[in-house]
């Protein structure tokens, strides 16, 4: 059952050194505040998982919290490369980063398998690409009916999934809406799940296309208004596009990056509400 707690306590209780951690979101609802709290608490040797790792993952990788990245596509959307990600892969700074690269459909299917309690999922992807030869957790599989060569991808079961949503009620049920990524599947696949929300409300109102995560699939819910910035939360905030462009400059240089992280992350006192 979800407990309503502070962000700091939610991370302390649910994210440990060496854990496999998925911080999901798709342009929208990226859990920046929770990611920053992981940095502040000095977690190490994480295996980070993410479809479309972007600026938050650049920050986590640049601060050296990750030993390994399991992902599909990486970049600063609409801007360019992630320079901290590149520096870690190309020069091992601040530490080497192992990569396990998948297709989007492969990652989504891996979460679905994890959420379904199955060892693997089946899809038509990967066939004809070089990923099969270079990527763990992908295996060819013959269809037992048609003989068609399909691809099996192994279930993903993060130790903890972290997401940001618009609302929770006092029982810890969560609702998110607007552009959604793979949050539901990533939460259901994980052993533990932490959700930051814009607002705790008395009652969740049904909305078209919304996803509801019942409190019993969550570990902790923390009210963190603006917790997705510079990403956004539909009906609460807009995306700070200028920041994403500014990040390209900040992140190119190691010292500039470290200075920015010190000022904007490390020296900030976490929310204790």
């Amino acid at each position: 059952m979800a407990v309503l707690t502070s962000l700091a306590e939610a991370i302390t209780a649910n994210v440990g050194d060496g854990d496999m951690v998925a911080l999901e979101g798709f342009t929208h609802l990226i859990p920046f505040a929770a990611g920053h709290e992981i940095v502040r608490q000095g977690r190490q040797d994480l295996t980070l998982v993410r479809m479309t790792p972007d600026v938050l993952y650049d920050q986590l990788i640049g601060m050296g919290v990750a030993a390994r990245l399991v992902f599909s596509w990486g970049g600063n959307p609409g801007v360019g490369s992630l320079h901290r990600f590149r520096d870690a892969v190309e020069h091992g700074w601040p530490r080497p980063l192992q990569l396990e690269e998948h297709s989007h459909a492969g990652m989504a299917n891996r979460y679905v398998a994890g959420a379904s309690g199955l060892p693997f999922a089946v899809l038509r992807g990967y066939v004809g690409t070089d990923l099969v030869d270079h990527t763990a957790n992908v295996a060819p599989l013959a269809c037992p009916f048609t003989g068609e060569r399909l691809t099996a991808v192994a279930a993903l079961r993060p130790d903890v999934t972290v997401i940001h949503a618009q609302q929770a009620d006092r029982a810890g049920n969560v609702q998110l809406w607007g552009i959604c990524g793979v949050q539901k599947e990533a939460v259901l696949a994980a052993r533990r799940a932490v959700v930051t929300v814009e607002e705790v409300v008395e009652e969740l109102q049904p909305r078209p296309g919304a996803i509801v995560l019942p409190g019993w699939v969550l570990s902790a819910v923390a009210e963190v208004p603006g917790g997705a910035q510079p990403s956004y939360a539909q009906d609460y905030s807009t995306r700070d596009n200028a920041f994403y462009e500014a990040w390209d400059v900040i992140s190119r240089d190691r010292d500039t990056f470290l200075g920015w992280m010190r000022t904007h992350v490390l020296d900030l006192v976490p929310s204790t509400t």
């Binding site: 309690g117 089946v122 295996a139 269809c143 399909l150 078209p208």
Partner: protein
Amino acid sequence: MADKRMTPQEVVGRLESGMTIGIGGWGSRRKPMALVKAIVQSDLRDLTVVTFGGPDLGILCTAGKVKRAVYAFVAPDVAGATNKNSPVLEGHFRKARQSGAIEDEPYDEGMVLLGLQAAAWRVPFLPTRVGLGSDLLRDNPRLKTVTSPFDDGEELIAMPALELDAALVHMNRADERGNAVYLGPDPYFDDLMLAAAKVGFVSTERIVDTAELLKEAPPQALRINRAFVTGVVETPGGAAPTSCEPDYERDEDLHAKYMAAAKSDEAWDEFLAAWEAK
């Protein structure tokens, strides 16, 4: 915007003998019976019917339209006369199955769901634990197993995709473009039936303006997306004798006639006359 309204006869005109047809609803609940009636009155035959079955499959069996039944269950949804806890068997389906008049392809409910899901996702099968340890592997020779290619090496059931040539479903309200809502307690798997089919037809109690679809229903009741719908048929009372809550409950009188109709040709004719008069 496309106006997809058509008659039950026009729907049947899009179907062909030998097709695999998915029928929505559940047992004796929200079945597209007006469309089933149009099939009974047509010269279609040799159909493979995929269903969470009730009178839809039973009637088509007795009417001689079915070559093969693919089903999770076939149930009349009524308690027994002597023991209220004992379910009554579906007489029409039982007769056709036991006489060998139809081919039999039984599944578990979860397997039919996954078979439709596989077809909707356009993959030839999905792995599942549903059905493991049951007699289905013996009784359904179409089922196979698949072994995980990873270290766990687990053997799972491979549920084949249940690809449908056409799907027929009945919804409480629809617009003329094919968006549709249910107002009752359960969506069943009608949306998945449509996604698994090459063409989909929705019969409905009432065609309303698109803006009115959500007047009586919460947003999540808007289960049917026009992208999956080829034709919309306004058939008030079109689920009878099955229920279409909250518009109406099961027509117990007509349903009793249907149940009795498995006993003799005379009773069958009497049921058909009563049903066609509706």
